[in-house]
Symmetry: C2
DNA sequence: GTGAAAGCGCTAACAA
DNA sequence: TTGTTAGCGCTTTCAC
């Protein structure tokens, strides 16, 4: 009926009728049923956002970027969390796609065959975010983690560090950490160096985890002169440990993290890190979806490679 | 048809037929359309979760608790973020309810009239979380922030601190911080004390914000002997500032935060804080919804008041 | 155990 | 400018 037209502001309704409908709707506390609407119109103003975790401060920022952009459109983000498990990702994706969203933003380029198939079959804009090293399904926005690993390694090697360790999350779960590690070891190898020691952990990252692990690795390999952490949180923990233990940073040992978590600015010493451009990634991905949905953009398969900013801080001697 | 029965495991289908359907469905890459399903069955296995922010580490943990419980059910959480703005909350809520979710979990007890009306009219289980000081719509799970403020104030007063300051988020936005502050000043008043100085900020909480603000307040009121922060993040920043500045903690000045963010364990000194039971709150709220949806529970209006655990840490002299 | 038919609450297309 | 009609893709009910 006309009611439908009014509620959707689809023109061609006389002002008096419009007002009358609006009034009655308000009186009745009427909330339109989007389910029926979506079914009839074959359109759903939802954008599925699938991320591995919420606990590490990096994805919340991406989500903020996404929300910022989508707030100016009719689209609404819907979030799903996979906990870095492919089978969870598959399930979350399945559930999401069964609601026929207008687009999907999903972290990473590594997905199960089934997930990729679903994404392709869905025939909607798909933006894979955070990582650009791999074979995208459709569009990608992110940084090259392999390059990030290489760059920090260059910096470390040039600064003259020799006994370099890596401390990070268990790789099979976290592809981006793995790629950074690969780029890292690659450059070390070119410089004739090997990773002197390494340690991997599972579970969340926290200051105390960083402390413990740093203590452990330094006990085992007291002659290390650099530790590269897979994220800022454990890096910061390591830094605090060293300061407490009276180990001069960066004189005796240099440290670097990853992510550029500004939450941690304000540590006794600024940790060397590399910004993953989280907010920009979120905004850009959302923009791609919004543009395609609104028909502004005809393109597909956009590949946007951002350049992470290296920030040397005060934990890397020059 | 029969297909529908197979896909939903609703009995009374012969095994051969079942397998055949399953096989064809897989070959076709068939993903059922939940929109149509929901419309026909008048049931939607979604639980709307509405929270003010993602950037402060407290809500991610709540969400994790919710997911944990809901993973064992047919229900799926859908998250919405309000940025502490009532008008955003209203919009997010409206959008959510228009999808006719099976339940809603929403942070806080303060909502606009329109939001309350929508929630009541939706006729679904509603659980308000994090706070129990107020008038609930249906069920509530959380702690009393007023009591939390009182308890820490008791502790501070008993420890003999006299010149006590408060440092926190701008109140109108954050009702829970406000209530803690109220409980706090109440106990101070009973002890014949007043808040010696106070400072409020807007925007996110970070270590550096805590540093800056602590420096500022101590410049202004050098004779302070205690600072109560509205959250652990800025409290930690304050702690780091004091240590850097050579101010003995807790000898010259005591510090306390709020939340019990374990992410921050591992600071040079453990900050006195109070746990807001975030994970438990999430799990309990999800359980209430799940039980009601499945018909296990007939109750409504459950009120679950958790007792926050005070942890004295090493920044409060005894 | 299986199929057929009605209809969930909307939108789209068309008629008035 | 407004009303009418036919589905959208499922679930439900009932007949077979």
């Amino acid at each position: 009926m006309t009611v439908s037209r009014v509620l959707r502001n689809r023109g061609d309704v006389s002002e008096p009728t419009r007002l009358k409908v609006l009034k009655v709707a308000k009186e009745l506390g009427y909330v339109p049923n989007k389910i029926a609407g979506a079914l009839a119109s074959q359109r759903v103003n939802l954008v599925g956002v699938i991320i591995p975790s919420l606990s590490n401060m990096v994805f919340p920022e991406v989500m903020t970027g996404i929300s910022e952009v989508l707030d100016d459109t009719a689209l609404q983000p819907v979030f799903g969390v996979t906990n870095y498990k492919p089978e969870r990702e598959e399930k979350v994706l399945y559930e999401m796609l069964s609601w026929r969203p207008s687009g999907v933003i999903i972290a990473g380029l590594e997905h199960s065959d089934a997930s990729r198939a679903m994404l392709k079959a869905a025939d909607i804009p798909v933006v894979e975010i955070m990582d650009t090293d791999g074979d995208p399904i459709d569009a990608v926005v992110g940084i090259s983690h392999r390059r990030a690993g290489r760059e920090i390694a260059h910096e470390i090697v040039q600064s003259g560090y020799k006994k370099i360790a890596f401390l990070g999350t268990k790789m099979p779960l976290d592809h981006r950490a793995r790629k950074r590690f690969e780029g890292f070891t690659e450059v070390l190898a070119k410089a004739g160096l090997e990773v002197a020691d390494q340690e991997f952990y599972s579970g969340g990252s926290s200051l105390s985890k960083g402390r413990e692990m740093t203590e452990a690795i330094l006990k085992r390999s007291p002659d290390l002169d650099f530790i590269y952490y897979s994220n800022d949180m454990i890096g910061a923990g390591g830094l605090l440990y060293c300061l407490d233990a009276g180990i001069p940073v960066p004189k005796q040992i240099g440290l670097a993290g990853f992510n550029g978590v500004e939450l941690l600015d304000g540590l006794p010493r600024q940790l060397a890190t590399m910004d993953a451009c989280r907010a920009v990634v979120g905004r850009t991905a959302a923009k791609i979806i919004a543009d395609r949905v609104s028909g502004v953009s005809e393109k597909s398969g956009e590949k946007i490679v951002l350049t992470p900013q290296l920030s040397l801080g005060q934990t890397l001697r020059r």
